[in-house]
Every structure is written in structure tokens, then in C-alpha cells.
Symmetry: C2
Subunit: 387 residues, 2 copies
Amino acid sequence: MRDVAVIGIGCTHFGEKWESSFRDLFIEAGAKALEDANLAGEQINAMYVGNMSAGRFIEQEHIGALIADYAGMATHHIPSTRVEAACSSGGLAFRQAVLSVASGYEDIVVAAGVEKMTDVEPGASTDALTGAADREWEGFMGATFPGLYAMIARDYMHRYSLTREQLAMVPVKNHYNGARNPIAQFQSEITLDTVLKSTMVADPLRLFDCSPITDGAAAVIVAPLERAREFTDTPVKVLATAQASDTISLHDRRDISTLDATVAAGKRAFGMAKLSHDDIQFVEVHDCFSIAEICAIEDLGFCRKGEAGRLTEDGQTAIGGKIPVNTSGGLKACGHPVGATGIKQVCEAVQQLRGEAGKRQIDGARYGMTHNVGGTGATVAVHIFGV
Amino acid sequence: MRDVAVIGIGCTHFGEKWESSFRDLFIEAGAKALEDANLAGEQINAMYVGNMSAGRFIEQEHIGALIADYAGMATHHIPSTRVEAACSSGGLAFRQAVLSVASGYEDIVVAAGVEKMTDVEPGASTDALTGAADREWEGFMGATFPGLYAMIARDYMHRYSLTREQLAMVPVKNHYNGARNPIAQFQSEITLDTVLKSTMVADPLRLFDCSPITDGAAAVIVAPLERAREFTDTPVKVLATAQASDTISLHDRRDISTLDATVAAGKRAFGMAKLSHDDIQFVEVHDCFSIAEICAIEDLGFCRKGEAGRLTEDGQTAIGGKIPVNTSGGLKACGHPVGATGIKQVCEAVQQLRGEAGKRQIDGARYGMTHNVGGTGATVAVHIFGV
């Protein structure tokens, strides 16, 4: 098993990209990553692409070949593979890229993620996203994703005395960070009132508790660690790549406000990296809804169950706090182009570890973690990076 | 890089499975594979699932987690990943399983493929399948898959003097083989007249030149070669796993009747396995349309360009011939549940190499090849197996 490093990153601006097609988006992200790694396209050996539902959003499957083709790489016939795991498609595409380099089958590999969500009506995008849940037992019964996470939020608030205000502090903090991230869909700070007075989506979750519908793409390039310095002065090591699954339906879980796949993937990742929680200086978690960030902090073990609300209220998850969470702005402020999110998280980790995160920079960051969730937690990918 | 072996196989009957859901199908195939490998579910470390378009066919994404869950494997939180590459989804899922074992990250891994195509109207399935082509430049212009392959057939017949009768001999041979395969959708022999008098679909391709719409699932289990005999007395070695891409649109190719991705993947596979064409005793090729088998035989190098029609007419691709092609019955007679086909090909290769192919058996088979195509050749996976 070979060690693997990230040698290049690229990300489009996330948002409602009316002027860019699906193809335009991934070409922009891929070109930026190649430039960042000082590579020409011909040096790429393979590609992995995370995408959740281009079949529903743009009536296109066969995304791996499409991307290789439009990126000009079909002519040298590289392998190009789409990976799908709902909202964790990007995280799993990254993991497959790491495994392919670790295996020795490939050397220089692109892991990309892309989603173009605004080419359909809002109702159609909500319905497509329901494909991440159990269509037969959740979707066909009328459950939407905000509805499922609202059930998690209600259960959690009841059991752990989380206040509505504490929950609202998650998006307030993430908008603060997003306002310092040039790729973020929303670059404006908000107040508690913005969240608490926003439209109710699924009680208790309001509009500002929910990540938005977004177009965007992100790409990173991985290589064997031993070759990384051929391409960059600032390689970032992949210290752990862990993935876990759980029941696809929320009602089949032993406990709906603990994501057991997060717990399992987190433990595996710490074991692989031989690091403890105190070593990790920042974590990008999957805040598709504000409650999801609360659960993730706990399920990854950064505090005990029931304590993440207080941790957030105390500013310990903000930049400068004990464990900064979602310095990028998270899914809430960056936006959530589903297949791209897991790769964007890697881009943020790499920027932090290179010291290139600008106004979001964690001083002297040496180790960071990313956490990408599919559905309500049926798939989770956790990665640890270090310099 | 560790060597990898197939230790178990399982396949549902392929057909119009009105009595089985998507979930039922993969559970049946997976259970058969576990039984074949003398394994319990708890011994599985990871899963890869090939599926093209469950989003369009059954409104469900997140297929990896769904399968892990319904197979009872979510409780121990194994990684489970969907791979999509249109009609080569199964071949690529198998390849990712091989890479994950080769990397050392996983030991005992299921590679499965599943597609449930008959739950939508015929027009909707044809439209979903168009997602394998370039939706913007082929699909939206009115091209269907039979139409695209008809263009290949016309071009090929014009340039290489293939006769309509020679082309019809492909499905006649494949139905002969399928009549000897218990999992095949069509288990009846046909004559040249059956093909030549069948309904025209896209000139020159008639109904019996086209693989059908099919429900089905297949699963295989791979393990490190060094551990294979813990589970089976008849391990089958994976001697090569090659994958290549090409332009997604047919009109962007230098030559529409040569699939360059097949040429590239084939050469890589022979190089990896250190074998020559004379060593290979049978090959399962991707005969989505009769012309596709003709092209595949040539593009893989089993004869020169323009000679596969004569080879077929001379009976050299039949069981007992120089290079038996599609002993399973191929996509034509087995049916083509898109995501499952690449895995079914592996099942056939393993049955042949174990000497368990019954009336389809190639005497003393030691090496065999599988060839799985996505779209009109934008993705190709070629594997070589040996005992």
C-alpha cells in the first residue's frame, strides 16, 4: 500500500450558475487543479468523478467518460469512473482515487465532483434529492430531506436540551466563515434573527438551517507521496481514508440523532492516521442542515453527546476556537452542489494546511479532517490530512 | 500490488422480473455468491455495485448504501460504493473491487451489478438509456442507441463488405448458446430467417440484432489470491484489469466502426496478463447490437479488421470454434440488465474456467476474457481470467 498526497486543487465559484453548463463547471475546476499542480492533461493517468444525480438533473449518465472527453483526456484513453453515493459522492470519488494510487495501478489521478442542480424546477430538484433516501419507505411516503433532518432535530432537541438559538448559531458561524471564502455561494454574514425569523421549511428547521440548491464543481489531484514533490512544494498527505455505511432509512436506526456511520468512519480514520482528537486543528463537516453539524461534531468524538450546542454557543467551533468547524463556510454558506461537496471539503483542508486560506486561516494548521455524508447518514466518508 | 482471485459467483435469472423488485434481485444474486464462496455476510469487508440509471428507472440513487442495508451489511458499517459508467457499470464495479483488494485496503469484497428496467414504459427506458450517449449532441438531436449502432453497422458494412446474412449469424449463434444457459432471458434457438424477417428497428438493425430490456442482478466475490483457497477449491485468478475511455459522441471519433477504447483496453489487458491471443480460449464481448460483436472481435485483435463476419460465418466464434465468443448467449440472449451485464460476464468466465458451464463448456479452458462497453464505446473494461 503506497502513501498518497494531494498535489493540486481547483474549485469553481459555487452558486446559481446560469451562464455555465455541467460541462463548463467541471472543466473550470479541473483546469484550475491542473494549473495548481503544474501538470498538463496528458500526465493524468485516471479520473474519478463524484456525481449524485445527473440522470435526474440533466438527463445524462456516463459522467466519467463525458468528463474525460470534455477535459480532452479521451484521446489518450485514460480510465474515468463515476462514483455515486448521494451527497457523499465526492468523498467516495476521492477515496477511490486514493485507493487506485495506493494499489499501484495508477500514479497521477484526478478526483472531481460536480453537480448542476438549477436546470430543473425546484420541486424536481427536491424530488431528485429524495433519491438519496429510501425511495420506497421514505420518499413514496412523502418524506423530504428537510423533513427527515427535522425529525433528527426534534429528537435531538428533546433529548439533549439543545435550544433553538444554539442551533441557529451554526449557520451564523458558517455564514461568517463563508463571507471570507471567495468560492462561497453566500458571502454575507447573518445574525441569529436572520435564522430565527426565516421561513419555516420543516419544523424546527427554517430556511437558514438548510443548505441551498447549488451548481458547482471541484477537483483535486492525488499522487504517490514519494513523487509529490515533483509537482508541488506543498504536498498534503492523506493520512486516513475511511468509509462506512448504515441503514438507508432513518426509521431503521437504533438512534436517529447519532449517525453510527459517522462514528464508525471517524474511529477508523483516527486509527489509520494514529492521531487523537487533540491533534486535529480543524474539521469540515457535512452541515446539510444545521442539526447535522451538531451531530457530526459529537459523532466524530470532538465532544460528548449533547455538548455540541454549548460548544458552538461558546465559540469553540469558530475560527480561533478549540476545534474550528467548517472554516470554508460549510454546505450552508458555500452551497451544496451535491457531488462536488466532498471534493470542496478536501480543497478547504488543503488550503488550510498550505496556509493559503486567507481570512479563514487557522494559524499553524498541521492536521485537518473532512466528513462527508450521504443521505441521512447511510454513507459517510472521513479523511484526515496532514503536512 | 496484491494478486486477486474470484472466489464466488451468483446470478439471478435475467428477464422481465415482474415478481421481483430491484432490491429482491440483488439480494438473490448476492446470497448465491456468498453461498458459492462459503461465506457469511459478516465476512464481507466492502461492496461495489454497478448500476447505470436507477435514478431514472426507479427514482432511487444512493445504491451502494441501499444494497449494503438490504443485504444486512449496514449493521457492521462496511464501505459500499456505486460505480456508474452506463452499460459498463458492472465491469467498472468489478475493477474497483479488484483495485481495493490489490491496494491492501480491503480483503473480501463483493462486486455486484443490478438493473431493474421494466418498471417504466418502454419509451422511458429508451430515453434513460440515451443518458449513456452525449445527451446534448446526440440525445437531444433525436439519436437513440439503436440509431447510433445502426450508423456503425452501415459504415462497417459499406467499408468491409459485411453481408446482412453474416451479421445475422451473430444473434443466431448467441441464441444457440443462450438456449444452453439457465439464466438467459431467451432460451430458444433461432434461425437466420428469424433475424432477417424481424421488425426493423434502425436500418439495418432489426429486432433480433438488438439486446433486450431486462431485469437482473449478478454478484461476484474477490479476495487476495493468497487467501483464496480458504474459501474455495477453485479460485479463478484475475490476470488483468484494464479500462479505457473515448469520446462520448460517435461523431467525434476518428473512425466510427473501430472502438478505440476497446483497442486500448485490450492491449493493456494482454500486456498486464503477459498473454497472447492464442492463449485466450473464450471471450465474452459486449454484443448490445449484433454489429458490436463484430467490431469487438476485431478491436480486441482476435482477427484483422473486416474479417469477423467471415470468422462468424465459418463457425469459428461458436463453441468448438477457434475463439468461442459469448458462450453465455451474450447480451442478445441473456438479456442486458445494464449494470449487471459486466458482472454476469465475469460469472460466465468463472464458470467456464471451473469447468461448470454445462452444455456451453469449452473443453479444458484455462484463460478467458471479458469485454464490457459503455455507450457506443466511451468506456471499455477488459478483464482476463485464468486458472
